[in-house]
């Protein structure tokens, strides 16, 4: 065959190898702490995360930022390993103790070889249960956060995300805040406030230890009983979980189209967010929403990308996403475009939202999105840390154990009608916010004149 003949014939796929998401086992220790173990054979590293069903959305408004600051301060010294010794002890095990506060959950994790799992769990226990929150270090971390807020104002991407959530949520909604808090509350955070937040994190009945990797020859529940002391063996109320954690208030502040421009003089691009209050993770038509969003702004060749990037050249990239949380997280279209095309870019993006909501989805579009989500699923879970993260997510959201095992079948069952219904139900083209961070001198006039919605200009110094 000539080269031309070879290349003219598109290859056909071979026979797919089967894939199922690795199954996990659950043990419930006397304290009520859950242990979820996933055997992922042949991998040199084991990933272990303690996941607590409590996050920044659960902190009182006047302490906004306390959970995130506590997460940072927990590795600043423990009863047994004062100061930087705890960091150094982890480094000797070849790991870093990764403590993260999310909106819905709190996670402390390590990644180590099997031989080091025991000592690593002991360190996790120290960080989780016996942090000392030294006043001096807490003060330093608080200052670092305040400085970070100054940096945030100068960075258009972070600045626009902040302005966007403040626009779409009411002030009572935790999701209108920044996860790390703003000046007004951060300034008041000291070791007492952090200790308070920390105590609330410590109920083992709200927590699970997720361990994944090659677990051959390891008795993980026993290791955890040995290393996590009272936290594992203590007298909780047995296996009973505490009442379901409630979803935070997530109320929309926008009931029509609004446009908010935050001035950043000298910007050569406009950072744009378009959207509204979206959906909680446990939405019944989760899989249809994923397929719909992939077509709109998830795939590389999504409608938004093909229009704004590949046809118009307005941007390096544009995407859309539903950030699904315990409560209704934001839905947003996100892009940055050169200043001169700010209005046309917004108009095109709004057009795509309307077309998604009111128009048809072709069978080819449906197939691309469905095949992508189904096909890429095994790629997402190649290594133990990814599997452990996903299982931790099931626990954090209170999802059924077979949620991930069922995922591919559920996506395959999504049809054109389900995508259309998801678009009609969850895209609110008549009540959304268009938030722009850009050079007001260059774009304010056009943006207001375009009549895209109720217009507000936020001067830099009002921020």
């Amino acid at each position: 065959m000539t080269l031309e003949e070879v290349l003219a014939a598109r290859p056909t796929p071979g026979r797919p190898r089967g894939y199922t998401f690795p199954s996990f086992e659950r043990s419930i220790l006397p304290s009520g702490l859950q242990v979820l173990t996933v055997h992922v054979p042949g991998r040199p590293l084991i990933s272990a995360n303690v996941v607590v069903r409590r996050g920044a959305a659960d902190e009182p408004a006047e302490l906004a930022g306390a959970t995130a600051l506590a997460a940072r301060a927990m590795t600043e010294g423990t009863a047994r390993y004062p100061g930087v010794e705890v960091v150094e002890a982890a480094e000797r095990l070849g790991t870093t103790i990764n403590v993260q506060a999310g909106w819905d959950s709190f996670t402390a994790g390590v990644e180590v070889t099997a031989a080091r799992l025991g000592p690593a769990l002991e360190l996790l226990d120290e960080v989780l249960r016996r942090p000392t929150f030294p006043a001096d270090d807490v003060a330093r971390l608080r200052e670092e956060r305040l400085n970070d807020l100054m940096q945030l104002r100068a960075e258009p991407r972070r600045r626009v995300d902040w302005a966007f959530v403040e626009t779409i949520y009411t002030r009572q909604s935790p999701y209108a805040r920044l996860l790390g808090g703003k000046e007004a509350t951060v300034r008041g955070l000291g070791r007492e406030e952090l200790a308070g937040v920390h105590t609330a994190l410590l109920d083992p009945r709200r927590a699970a230890v997720v361990v994944g990797g090659d677990l051959t020859g390891l008795d993980v529940p026993q290791l955890i009983l040995d290393q996590l002391g009272e936290y594992a063996a203590g007298s909780g109320s047995g296996s009973a979980s505490p009442a379901e954690v409630s979803a935070p208030e997530a109320t929309a502040a926008v009931d029509r189209r609004v446009v908010r421009l935050v001035d950043r003089p000298g910007s050569v691009q406009s950072e744009i967010r378009i959207g509204h209050v979206g959906l909680p993770r446990r939405v019944p038509d989760f899989h249809a929403v994923q397929v719909m969003n992939s077509i709109l702004g998830g795939l590389f060749n999504s409608r938004l990308q093909l229009n704004l990037r590949e046809t118009k050249g307005y941007t390096y990239g544009v995407g859309s996403s539903f950030d699904m949380r315990r409560g209704a997280g934001p839905f947003s279209v996100r892009t940055a475009v050169q200043t001169a095309v700010t209005v046309p870019a917004i108009t095109e993006a709004l057009g795509e939202l309307e077309r998604m909501r009111d128009g048809q989805v072709t069978p080819a579009e449906l197939a691309s999105a469905r095949d992508y989500l189904v096909g890429v699923f095994p790629l997402r879970f190649e290594v133990p840390s990814a599997v452990v993260g996903a299982v931790g997510g099931l626990f954090a959201f209170g999802l059924p154990d077979d949620e991930l095992a069922r995922y591919r079948g559920c996506v395959e069952a999504v049809d054109v009608a389900a995508v259309r219904k998801a678009a009609r139900d969850h895209l609110h083209t008549d009540r959304l916010a268009i938030v722009v961070v850009g050079d007001a001198a260059a774009v304010a006039g056009d943006l207001e004149a375009a009549g895209l919605g109720e217009f507000e200009l936020v001067a830099e110094e009002d921020v």
């Binding site: 080269l3 190898r17 000797r92 050249g313 475009v337 790629l379 290594v383």
Partner: protein
Amino acid sequence: MPAPTVRFTDERLANGLRLIVAPDPLAPIVAVDVWYAVGSKNEVPGKTGFAHLFEHVMFQGSAHVGKTEHMALVQAAGGSLNGTTWLDRTNYFETVPSHQLELALWLEADRMATLLDALNQENLDNQRDVVKNEKRSSYDNRPYGLWFHKLQAHLFPPEHPYHHPTIGSMEDLDAASLEDVSAFFRTYYAPNNAVLTIAGDVDPAAARAAVERYFGQIPAAPEIPRPASLSVPASLGGERREVVEDRVPLSRHYFGFRAPVFGDPRLDALEMGVQILAGGKGSRLHKRLVRQEKLAQDVALFALGFVGGASICAGQATVRPGMDGEAVERVFEEELAKLGREPVTDDELERARALIETMELEALQRVDERADRLSMYATLLDDPDMINCQLARYLAVTPEAIREVAADVFRPDNRVVITYLPVPGMTDEAEDEEGAA
């Protein structure tokens, strides 16, 4: 902790294409990674940004693949993909479920063989606009965004191929013509200038046959031109400083040094030293500048390996509001100089080794990373087996080797310092914040 060995075969097709196959059936996925030995160092004055612009053009279709269809086909197959451009090289990669291997090979072969059949002015103009927006997003519209470009320009003289940024200049991007792009393709995008690695769930014999079928008839290019001379003295030969006023709330110092080239064992020693100086919260610079003296908001230091002339070791420290920037710079430089005077402690070295070991194990778990590294070592060092030696080389580094390379690299006359200062309006704001805090 024994690192698993990556088994692979290494051969050349008759047309010069280097093929590396590293089978591992653990996960039902396979990675394909094509490295072309062409990067921004191959660009000539007036045509900067070309190698990267070209990377975008490579997704605009070829004789049998429509515009953007490459992405569509790979994603519909359940795969991920991208391309990257850097000073020494450009690469293109796909990770797909293993039964879709042929799709990835066919896509790479079609554009290597027939890209120019599909290239037109409209696609070029479109991607030029996309790249200009990439430049704005990634550099021009970001606080401190141009620091690395400034560092490059100071570390390498104007005629050196590493002097200019990979993203190029707006003027040069505007000037790129269809004929320029075609000539670039004919010159560099040929099987004898490429390494193709397949790693993961693959039958080596079947993969070899498929590669021979799709790539075997693509003609080799005549001799590939080498870039202008890359050699520079190991040291800069005099400190260079630049002060930049920008819309940033906090001052920041960037530091840059010429360092040993990629593949030189002294670069391994430097990387171990860099880990001890700035790798995480247990490191010397973090302990002293952030934790103890509270002069800096954050610190960083890292080495970027390049094959020609010199690598770059770069660092930064952000000055806390109200603190003295000169003190930050002094302490930063003191710690670097100290590494060149006194050997690191056994405990520091032990921690650095343990961390690097985990990082290497973590990275090599993934088929895409294995494919990337095999192609990288083959392209840049003509030695793909470095994938199995690199960790041992890090672990073999001695305190004396660290001291020696640090003494050579962290010299005042080998140093570039870029100081970012807030434009006046932003300084006032910073002081208000500090006062109220």
